[in-house]
Amino acid sequence: MIVAEQKDLEEIRASVGEVGRVLVVGCGTCVTVCFAGGAKEAGILASSLRMAARVEGGSQDVGDVTVQRQCEWEFLDAIAADVAAADVVVSIGCGIGVQALAERYPDAVVVPGLNTTFLGLPVEQGVWEERCAACGSCVLGSTGGICPIARCSKQLLNGPCGGSSHGKCEVNAEAPCAWQLIYDKLKAQNRLDRLMEIAPPKDWRAARDGGPRKIVREDLRLNKTDEK
C-alpha cells in the first residue's frame, strides 16, 4: 500500500491561506489504512482548521468529504459540486489523489495535506515499513523474497557492504541489513548458491530514472467503435 503522513497543521494552514471556504477531501483506500487521510482524519482536520482560525480571531468555513479512491475519475466526479463551492481544496489523499483531483478539476486550487512517503506495509498496528521501490524489474526471485532496492540503503545487488553490523544497517540502526536478511533466508532454505552469481548492473530504464512511466493495455481499452 501507499503510506503517507499528514503534514503539520501549521504547514497546511499556510498553504491554504486566509480564504473563506475550504474543502478537505479524504480517501477511503491506502491513506485510510495508514490513518493519515481517511474519513476520520478528514473530519478531524476540518475541525482543526476551523478551530485554529477562530483561535486567531478569524473564521474559516471548512467542510469535508471522503471518496472511496481519489485516484479514480468516477469517484471524483461525485464531488463536483463540493469542489466548485470551495476556494481551496485540501486533498489528504496520496500524491496521486492530489494530482487526480487537480487534473479532474482544473479550475480548483488544490493543495496537499499529506507527505506521501513510500510503498510499504503495516508490520504491526501502528508501524509501517518500506518494502517496494517500484523499480520496474523485479528481482525478488533471486533474493529470497527480500528487496535489495527498497530495503538496502545503498541498493546493492551484490551486498552486503562492510557496514552491516549485528544484522542492522549502519545508516539506520533501526533498519535491518537487507543483505543479512537475504543471506539468512537463502541459507535457511539451502539456496546460498544463488548469491554466488554476480548480479549484473541494473537496467534503471524501467525505474523512475528512465522517465515517468506509463502502461497501456490495448486489450483492456474501450474501443470507441465497439461502443456504437
Binding site: K154, N158, P160, L195
Partner: protein, 330 residues
C-alpha cells in the same frame, strides 16, 4: 584474477615479484590547495609501494581522488585511486577512469562508499547505479575486453588498471565474508585491501577459509592495520565502526600506557607510543599469516607516523622496481 603486468604499476610489480607489499592512505584536503597533498606525498614516498587516495571519505566533500592522485603522482608517490559508487553513475565512472589513465594513474580501488547521511551533505541524492562488485567487473572489462560497460568497443588506448576491492572480514554476516571476497575475485579483482583488523586470531580464521577456497592464489590480499592514537579512539572504533572487533585486552593495554601520567600532553604521547607499538606487533603477526601478500596501513590523519612504523616493522626500504623490471613484469 591475479594478473601480472597488466597496468605497469609499481604496486603490481611488487606483488608480482612476491615481495611483501605496503600501502597506506592519503586523505585529500577539504579545499582546493594542492600543497597539503604534496607535503603528505613527500612524507610517504619511498616508504610505501602505493598510497590510497580516498574518495569523499565518510561522505565528506574533499578534493577529488583523481585530481589529488595526479598531484601525488607528480610528487613521486604512486597512488591507488579510490572510487565509490555513492556519487557517480556508470557514465561518470568510466569517464573518470579514462581520464585517470590518461593522466598516468594505474591503480584503482572499488568501494560501495559510505552513505551520504554520514557526511556533511546528508541531503544529497545518492547514486549507487552500480555496486562495488559490478564496478570491479566494469573496470576489468575496460582493460581485458576493451569494452565499455554497455558492450561498445573502445577504439584506441583503453585504460588498463590494476584493480582492487575491499573486504571487511569481521563484519556481519561473518560466514559470508570469505564467499563475498570470492565474488570480487570472480569479478576480476587483482588485489584486496581489508578493513583494519584488531582481532588477529579471528582474522586468521577468516584467512584460513579464504585460502581453503583457493582465493589467496587468485588475488593479492593486503591486511588492514591501524595505528591507535588513544584508548578513546579504540573504544570509538569498537562501538561505532561496523565489523571492528577491538578486543578488550587491547583497550586495557592502551589505557595502561597512560596510567600514572598526570600531564595531558605526556599522557597523549604515551598513548600514541603504545598505539604505534601495537601496530608494529600486528604487522609482524600479519606477515606470518598464510595468504597475506602485504599490509594496508591506515593512520587516519596521522600520516606522519607511517615512516616510523614501517621502519620499526622492518619494512623499509621498499623494493625499488626499475622501469625495466616493470616492463619485464608486463
Amino acid at each position: 584474477m591475479s594478473s601480472t603486468g597488466l597496468s605497469g604499476s609499481n604496486l603490481e610489480a611488487v606483488l608480482a615479484a612476491g615481495d611483501f607489499a605496503v600501502t597506506t592512505e592519503l586523505g585529500p584536503p577539504k579545499n582546493a590547495d594542492a600543497e597539503s597533498i604534496r607535503a603528505k606525498a613527500r612524507l610517504l614516498k619511498g616508504c610505501v609501494d602505493a598510497a590510497n587516495i580516498t574518495d569523499n571519505q565518510t561522505a565528506v566533500v574533499r578534493m577529488s581522488s583523481v585530481a589529488a592522485g595526479v598531484i601525488a603522482l607528480q610528487e613521486g608517490l604512486e597512488p591507488v585511486v579510490q572510487v565509490t559508487c555513492r556519487d557517480r553513475n556508470r557514465l561518470a565512472m568510466q569517464s573518470d577512469v579514462l581520464g585517470a589513465y590518461a593522466l598516468g594513474l594505474r591503480n584503482i580501488l572499488c568501494l560501495s562508499g559510505d552513505h551520504q547521511t554520514f557526511g556533511n551533505h546528508p541531503q544529497a541524492k545518492n547514486v549507487y547505479d552500480l555496486d562495488s562488485t559490478q564496478l570491479v567487473q566494469m573496470i576489468v572489462g575496460l582493460r581485458d575486453h576493451r569494452r565499455f560497460q554497455c558492450g561498445e568497443e573502445i577504439k584506441g588506448v583503453n585504460p588498463r588498471f590494476f584493480v582492487g576491492a575491499v573486504e571487511n572480514p569481521l563484519a556481519d554476516p561473518v560466514d559470508w565474508r570469505p564467499l563475498r571476497l570470492g565474488k570480487k575475485v570472480k569479478a576480476g579483482a587483482d588485489f584486496i585491501q581489508t578493513q583494519i583488523v584488531c582481532n588477529v586470531p579471528r582474522f586468521r580464521e577468516f584467512m584460513t577459509r579464504v585460502v581453503d577456497l583457493g582465493l589467496a592464489s587468485k588475488t593479492h590480499i593486503l591486511a588492514g592495520v591501524g595505528a591507535l592514537k588513544s584508548p578513546a579512539m579504540a573504544r570509538y572504533m569498537r562501538d561505532h565502526v561496523p565489523g571492528m572487533d577491538v578486543p578488550e585486552a587491547l583497550i586495557e593495554r592502551m589505557e595502561g600506557a597512560g596510567k600514572g601520567i598526570d600531564d595531558k600532553a605526556e599522557r597523549a604521547a604515551a598513548y600514541r607510543k603504545e598505539g604505534m607499538a601495537i601496530c608494529v606487533e600486528t604487522i609482524a603477526q600479519m606477515r606470518e599469516i598464510g595468504g597475506i601478500a602485504g599490509i594496508h596501513l591506515m593512520t587516519v590523519e596521522w600520516e606522519e607516523v607511517v615512516p616510523t612504523i614501517l621502519d620499526r616493522a622492518g619494512l623499509l626500504p621498499r623494493p625499488r622496481r626499475t622501469s625495466e623490471q616493470r616492463k619485464e613484469a608486463s
